[in-house]
């Protein structure tokens, strides 16, 4: 019988079956379940696969590269914005190349279901000049993992696997292949390519440039890029990754009117595209994310009327694709849908009943009449919901760690009473370095670390900050007189308001750690955390 798996789980199982030795990741929707599946898999213990969460995406990718350096197969997993954080190592490891197979899995979130933007990771793949694989469905996602690792080793390049929310979070029946053994340790025959001093880097960059031709040749013959030409010449479709499914949903009953090029491997197969272009009167490009393929095609063939897609307004430029959008762009009649009855009101997400973040926001809100209502710099996590009514505490949310540094910049400009609110995991992910900036200049800001002992937003994973925040802050150089703790409970409200008021009056850097576990942690987890904290102090 088939195994029923989420797209993310299919990728995870595919990686295990392809001989994985370690997965490195920081959680982020829609990528999280890939790592969690491997953490829970029975095979993981047996095969001694590394699965512990990393502190952020950059540390994760570097560790994966380190494992690859030893000749073993490693995977690094993140959401799209995580690749911004890891982009330094990503851009440079395409120059050095890898040793053991290294697959970088990045999950994009078109429509921003749980994200700040809908950036398209294929741009990064192109930027770094590495092969990109983009499976169209869950079975292909499983199958492609074997290929991805083999291909990475063959080319000595990292391979980018680009997926999107809908593939990640949809289940389907999957057939498994037999499992390949893990690689033995085998250090690189020549390590100089990993030492990117200019003389080595120049050589490596030349090599990378030359690989481009080979990559395109592979794309031409890849079974993941299938070209079907039909007699009817009216419409040719280029369907990338999951977009292929939306196309097939509309035309699978009778495909004879359409020529189709399915793309699941980049760089683009130029010859196949030319063939399709010559064969058809009109070309529709259907891709999830930015119009990256369409833009290239306009450039290949000059802008003309023949190529249609997002740039020509045939498909919306923003948001996720769906079968109706794609059907419309193909000129296939779509039933006029009924509209949502007016009576239905929106139901945005909100903080859980009994969440400590809420009590913290109530404390801050009490002081807003004194300090002004635009002084609170926020960050990413459950507490970001404090930017919504009825709380309305937080004014900004940009990227992980930006609360502290934006507060500092605003204070540099003369803003008084600047407050940064940051979660424990976001603090260790990207807040610590910014805090050192603030320490260095003794910036007049108050940093509140809302410590719930979990990476709550993404499903309450274990936070590496647990039990370490005090020592980290002291180690970075926060003055002990201005490193305070509070317990955000209703009964402590007045006391907490006084504490915050006092620290705001201090014209230097203060850090307040607001400690209360996330209510979604089980009793067992809370006990574990308690004993961990005890063992660390």
């Amino acid at each position: 019988m088939k195994h029923l798996l989420l797209g993310n789980e299919a990728i995870a199982q595919g990686a295990i079956d392809a001989g994985l030795s370690g997965v490195y990741a920081y959680p982020g929707t829609p990528s999280t379940e890939i790592t969690e599946y491997i953490q829970k898999s029975k095979l993981t213990k047996e095969l001694n696969i590394h699965t512990t969460w990393s502190v952020n995406e950059k540390t994760a990718m570097e560790a994966a590269l380190g494992m690859s350096y030893t000749g073993k197969r490693a995977m690094v997993v993140m959401k799209h914005v995580g690749l911004n954080v890891a982009s330094d190592v990503f851009m440079n490891m395409s120059i050095s190349g890898i040793n053991g197979g290294l697959v970088v899995v990045v999950a994009d979130d078109p429509s921003m279901h749980s994200s700040q933007n809908e950036q398209d990771s294929r741009f990064y793949g192109k930027f770094a000049m590495v092969p990109i694989l983009e499976p169209s469905n869950q079975q292909e996602a499983y199958d492609i993992m074997h290929y991805a690792f083999d291909y990475s080793e063959e080319l000595q390049l990292p391979v980018l696997l680009r997926i999107v929310t809908r593939l990640s979070h949809s289940r389907s029946g999957i057939d498994f292949k037999s499992r390949r053994l893990q690689n033995e340790m085998q250090l690189p025959s020549d390590t100089s390519r990993f030492a990117l001093i200019p003389m080595n880097a120049k050589k490596q960059f030349e090599k990378l440039i030359h690989k481009k031709t080979i990559l395109v040749e592979h794309s031409e013959t890849s079974s993941f890029n299938e070209l079907t030409l039909s007699e009817d010449k009216e419409i040719g479709i280029i369907a990338c990754g999951i977009a292929y499914n939306y196309v097939m949903e509309n035309i699978s009953e009778d495909t004879s009117f359409y020529s189709i090029l399915k793309i699941s491997q980049y760089p683009l197969p130029k010859e196949k595209i030319k063939k399709l272009y010559k064969h058809c009167d009109k070309i529709l490009v259907v891709e999830e994310g930015y119009p990256i393929v369409e833009e290239l095609l306009h450039n290949y063939f000059d802008t003309n009327d023949k190529i249609k897609g997002k740039l020509t307004g045939d498909i919306p430029l923003t948001g996720e694709l769906n079968p109706n959008i794609v059907g419309n762009s193909l000129g296939i009649f779509q039933n006029a849908a009924k509209s949502i009855p007016d009576i239905v009101s929106s139901r945005p997400p909100r903080l859980c009943e009994g969440c400590g973040h809420t009590d913290l926001f109530n404390t801050i809100n009490e002081l807003i009449p004194e300090i002004g209502n635009k002084n609170v710099f926020g960050d990413i996590g459950c507490y970001a919901l404090g930017s919504l009514p009825p709380l309305n505490t937080i004014n900004t949310l940009i990227d992980m760690g930006a609360s502290i540094t934006m507060a500092k910049g605003a204070a540099d400009a003369g803003l008084e009473n600047a407050i940064a609110v940051i979660g424990d995991s976001t603090f260790t992910h990207s807040g610590m370095t910014g805090l050192l900036d603030a320490v260095y200049e003794n910036s007049p800001i108050t940093v509140i670390i809302s410590d719930n002992s979990a990476i709550a937003m993404t499903g309450a994973q274990e936070s590496s900050a647990v039990g370490r925040l005090h020592k980290i802050c002291l180690g970075i150089g926060v003055h002990p007189d201005h490193l305070k703790t509070m317990i955000p409970l209703k009964k402590n409200h007045q006391e907490n308001v006084e504490l915050l008021r006092t620290e705001l009056k201090y014209k230097g850097l203060s850090v307040i750690i607001s400690e209360r576990p996330c209510v979604r942690l089980s009793r067992d987890r809370k006990e574990d955390i308690k004993s961990k904290i005890a063992s660390l102090s």
């Binding site: 379940e33 389907s172 769906n322 009576i343 909100r350």
Partner: protein, 199 residues
């Protein structure tokens, strides 16, 4: 045969248990299945839905096209109405009557029922109350699944087996509670659906 089902509710209400039963039952009948779900931000008390597609042929899109859902099964009445654009003209609406109110502008529940009753094929039942009477309000979702089971083209055996295997690691008592909930839902809905269809 292709059946499109939308499951809806509020993050935390457990619609994924219903999805898991449908998935397992469909798989045991060797059918093709795609079932998309919501993870992330919306799970914090926001609107969530799952698209379940079952077919004897390959299913392409993970999302159901608008106007193509045969059934919307909801654990909450307002969340049912949110997915009306997906309903096909002979589609069924099955919902728990109990509102989950976590917003300030939640409509009057009678007005919600009025809206739902505008569609010919609907079942509104107090699944939570039935579940409580059986012994645990948590099995309301199985009451609803039972209520919709006549409309779902999967055999009762596969559904029951799926329920058994889903809960067997917990305890026999929990398995039986869920089975009882299923049967109770089925019984009540039968009277209801017969009535509605005959109208």
């Amino acid at each position: 045969m292709k059946t499109n089902i939308i499951l809806s509710g509020v993050g935390g209400q457990g619609i994924l248990t219903i999805a898991a039963v449908l998935d397992a039952a469909a798989l045991s009948e060797n059918l093709f299945i795609k079932q998309s779900e919501v993870h992330g931000m919306s799970q914090r008390g926001g609107a969530v839905q799952s698209h379940v597609r079952i077919s004897d042929k390959e299913v392409y899109s993970d999302l159901i096209p608008e106007g193509k859902a045969d059934l919307i099964l909801s654990v909450e009445p307002m969340e049912l109405l949110r997915y009306i654009p997906f309903l096909n003209k002979n589609g069924w609406l099955v919902t728990d009557s109990n509102p989950f109110i976590n917003t300030t502008n939640y409509p009057e529940k009678q007005d919600l029922y009025e809206q739902i009753k505008k569609y010919p094929y609907h079942v509104i039942i107090d699944a939570t109350d039935i579940a409580k009477k059986i012994g645990n309000s948590k099995v309301a979702n199985m009451v609803l699944l039972g209520a919709a089971s006549n409309i779902i083209p999967l055999s009762e055996d596969s559904l029951l087996n799926a329920i058994r295997s889903l809960f067997k690691h917990k305890s026999d008592k929990i398995v039986n509670l869920n089975l009882e909930a299923f049967f109770e839902g089925k019984k009540i809905a039968k009277e209801f659906t017969d009535l509605t269809v005959n109208k």
